[in-house]
Symmetry: C4
Subunit: 271 residues, 4 copies
């Protein structure tokens, strides 16, 4: 049996959408902006889950439902769709949400390609918008956070520049991880793609203001009529869960380190 | 020759069992509870070994028999079976015991899937029970340790909740490693699955009380008529071996670290 | 879907060249000499890009154009060609330039083999010249830097020894990374191959003098009539970009370390 | 192009040997005993090289000939053979010598399996003898070093026990790396196998006395009429090379560490 690394997308239905805009937000990332933006879109637009991506490159872990139900949640990315209202000039959208980055180099590429190839085959993809954060290392100033961008062609870039996204002469030199790789793979497939990065100090677990700044851009660009008043609340909610996971991981890390220093404890992080 | 990662299950006989309950306990894990529970079941139920799993993702190591025979023991997982006594309402069981976690991310998934697919094809699987520990970081209190659980559906969860397993509002947020991944993969295959975690301080190499607490749940759930009086002795026996391995590994780690600091020694851990 | 690691070379045209000399310079490397030599050749010889190599073993990152355009640059190696002027006894050349080493052991081999097999099939390869640096750990002396070499056969070695390259009794004991692996794989394919290494302190981000020393050897060996006066300027230009990337990565590394120490920040390096 | 990890054995001739004893010594290992024993056998028995193993799991490096020739040496394992003198009751032998361990977990298994399957198909394998060291952490005592052993069956074990090899109740609990994995894979193929480990402090780069102790066992067991008087000299010779490589690697490691601490230097170890 030669199994090797496997990535699979299981789908429960084939939604009637086409020429989709793909919006991706994967945690962890600076200020959890990508994850929060994508999650907010899903809940506000009442996006419907239609598929799940499983990959052997995702962490060898299952999560336990943070609502206290005792049910496990498998490690996966979730694919939601929104059928755009053509009268409002909305496009059909697929939103990809995930709570883990790939554990391996190859996995980043395989996951991005699996998503793009799956959507291209099923619906056609017209645009890819990946969401991330840009950490300045400084505390948030009094002004509204900027939204930084990097796009794969000048024409597409200008659409977002008009909405205030900063592309020229920024401090952004690299986009690392899932947010970067999906834009890179989209470029190879000749699909318009942009990465939108909310400016954040990087000192906070999650950043509602930067999340809002990115959502405002998407709201305008995609004609979404979003109610942005619940962001604060949404981000707080997510933060609670993040904190739990964070504490758990710190505990595990501490135990791991003690072990490595050669004392009497054993790996505490393997269940 | 393109070999790549390979996982193989070699079997010596095809036992006449069907619709099995899979019970898995892999070391290392918090308090070695999974490994000790599975080992105790094997010895008390006189389970018979019928198959061995070999994987290129397991550590590149052979062990030397701790009984002083000088014989090597290959790196593998062992599969045992117990034919249930239908009069006692016992189910057919397969017990998977292993002394190493995967070394790679993909390996965790490949090994879990290999076990599940092998058993599903040969006998059918009805339930998956993976055993682990939950380290609280605090010394064991005077009360009996809890058994924590996480299940993949509400109905199955309730069967264990009735037996005292704590599912709701626990501190468990993630199950890492083999114990978690097999439950996740079982979920994808739509098999009822639960992870039972004995509460332990995590400060001990192995924890007999937590082992006993989990065995009590299994004893009731599976109608096993287990004699639990030998746990203390069994765990002590295992601990002796663990200590040897532990000292060995610490020595190796220390030598490795010295090497990395750039002194005159060479890697001491490669035979 | 079993994708696994993939390396692909996409080409836009099939240049009319044959029996090529392959010259490779990949960053990062000691003193960025390989990258600077290859880059200088491309710009001075007006080499034309005809193909791009993409590999899942390259870092999961996209770069943002350092000229401030806001356009992304996908992670890849670039293949340029120069049709040699036969009257000047020039050979046809392919120059491979890249800004990242492989992230995995297997990737180094797969990338080198992909390049060699692609060029061998399309044009035939006669020689492989990989460029690197040799860090002495000492500040540059007043004399001109040496060019060190290691070749895969005595006859080919002598061609460069005549031009002053030092092969005998040097301090070079290993060539690590892309510069070494391509020479090793060429050896297996029985292609003449040499690695030329500019002597440098290793204390500078990039080293124009060592770059010039290597270019002088290539200039003579390949009859290139190169204008070497712009090296200083070229290297300065590249250094500006390197510094930006370097600062970015240090910031990311610092954030990563803070995270690992268990404080309140999250991974700052994932966009 | 999907290449993935590749291991290949290229052979120049098919020697007329059969039912061979495989003897393997791979560096690095404790006290470089395996490598020195195998190397000494090759030179004293005038063993002839007939094949080379290349693997993408070996370090992405080429070595430069330490004799100062300036020629590169590709990263590989070398397979030598000796046709046994039947009158002296000698067996046909294949000696595998290598200067690097696998860089990946899967690689250890793939390399061992490639060697065993190749030899089994071409000649048949009767026995596998892997050579290693066992580091006690203490300075060598005045007595002769022990030779420790671990075998995969009782009958085969006794053959070496008779020659003084210590199998029973030793401190050896694990055999890590190439020396262990080849014995494990041989066990799965039902080939008699033993690992012989020279007792050494582990504080020396290489240990001539432990090397001699293992060679004495092999000399008797294989009826080799070895002249053991040149061991001291042979080991010294090898040590000179090891020291060079060692210093090189320490320098590289130091530079790497400085880089990671975030100062102004770049990776010094990539050519």
């Amino acid at each position: 049996m030669v199994n090797n690394m496997v990535t699979e997308i299981d789908y429960a239905e084939v939604p009637k959408i086409k020429d989709v805009v793909l919006i991706q937000g994967i945690a962890p990332g600076v200020g959890y902006i990508g994850r929060n933006v994508a999650g907010y879109l899903v809940s506000e637009l009442k996006a419907k889950k239609f598929a799940e991506l499983y990959s052997d490159a995702l962490p060898p872990v299952v999560n336990v439902d943070h609502n206290g139900s005792g049910l496990i949640i498998t490690m996966k990315y979730e694919l939601y769709y929104v059928k755009g209202d053509k009268k409002k000039k909305q496009k059909d959208m697929v939103i990809v949400v995930g709570d883990a980055q790939s554990m391996t180099t190859e996995g980043y590429y395989e996951i991005a390609r699996s998503i793009l190839e799956f959507l291209e085959e099923m619906f056609g993809i017209k645009e890819v918008i990946s969401i991330g954060g840009f950490g300045t290392g400084m505390l948030v100033e009094k002004r509204k956070p900027h939204v930084y961008g990097a796009a794969n062609n000048e024409k597409y870039l200008r659409l977002f520049e008009k909405l205030g996204v900063k592309f020229k002469n920024t401090e952004v030199t690299q986009i690392v991880g899932a947010a970067g790789v999906i834009v890179g793979e989209a470029t190879r497939m000749e699909i318009d793609a942009v990465c939108l990065m909310g400016e954040t100090s990087g000192l906070l677990l999650s950043d509602p203001k930067a999340t809002e700044a990115v959502l405002e851009v998407l709201n305008q660009y995609l004609n979404l009529d979003l109610d942005l008043s619940k962001i604060q609340e949404h981000v707080k909610e997510v933060e609670k869960v993040l904190k739990k996971i964070d504490e758990m991981q710190k505990k595990a890390f501490t135990q791991l380190m003690k072990k490595k220093e050669g004392d009497d404890e054993h790996l505490g992080y393997i269940g």
